[in-house]
Amino acid sequence: MGEYLILGIFLLGSFLVLVAGIGLLRMPDLFLRMSATAKAGTLGTGLMVLGAAIHFDEFAIYTRAIALIAFLFVTAPVSTHMLGRAAYFDGVPLWKGTIQDDLRGHYKLTTHSLEEEILPEKDQSHIEDEADAFEINE
């Protein structure tokens, strides 16, 4: 009975990791890809670590598993946010179906600081409108 519980947790976790991989491959834009990988990948791996803790059922393993899950859940948003910020400054194009870009014109390119009002044209970072074609249509 306990073995099937662990197998169910592992199946759910590996399915979420599969969803993260497919989302990374099929999403049209860097920021959508990051939203797929950061949430599904972290939750899937965290579920698998939880299944391993239930399988071994020792105090030492429980502490290691809790440390690993806490570390994964704390660091994944931090690294994704840093990478998304750097990519936005780098001028990675948004998807052509993007409706609203609230940050457009608010970042000063020279100092990388966020300003309250829309900056004049020469200070703005170079965010182009062109985007990759949605790859399902290939």
Partner: protein, 87 residues
């Protein structure tokens, strides 16, 4: 018998996710795409280590996955720092 089939399904899910992340690593039109796929690949490697630890009943594989999680985070932060300062 049933348990072995379920383990095969788990490892095939993980492997298909790995392969699609590698395809994005090879094709990715920009540098941040490649970095995010490397990040996902190492998170999937943590999942592989944990699954093998349960399958072969070796609890010491979990230590490897803790170290890999720390190195992954530091690597992604270093790449993001480089990407932002390069401009």
């Amino acid at each position: 018998m049933m348990v072995e089939i379920l383990w095969d399904i788990i490892f095939s899910f993980l492997s298909i996710g790995f392969i699609s992340a590698f395809i994005r690593l090879a094709r990715g039109p920009h540098l941040p795409d490649r970095i995010i796929s490397l990040d996902l690949i190492s998170i999937m490697a943590i999942g592989f280590f944990v699954a093998y630890a349960v399958l072969y009943d070796q609890s010491s594989f979990l230590d490897v996955s803790i170290i890999l999680a720390i190195i992954t985070f530091l690597g992604t932060v270093a790449f993001a720092y480089y990407l932002e300062r390069r401009v």
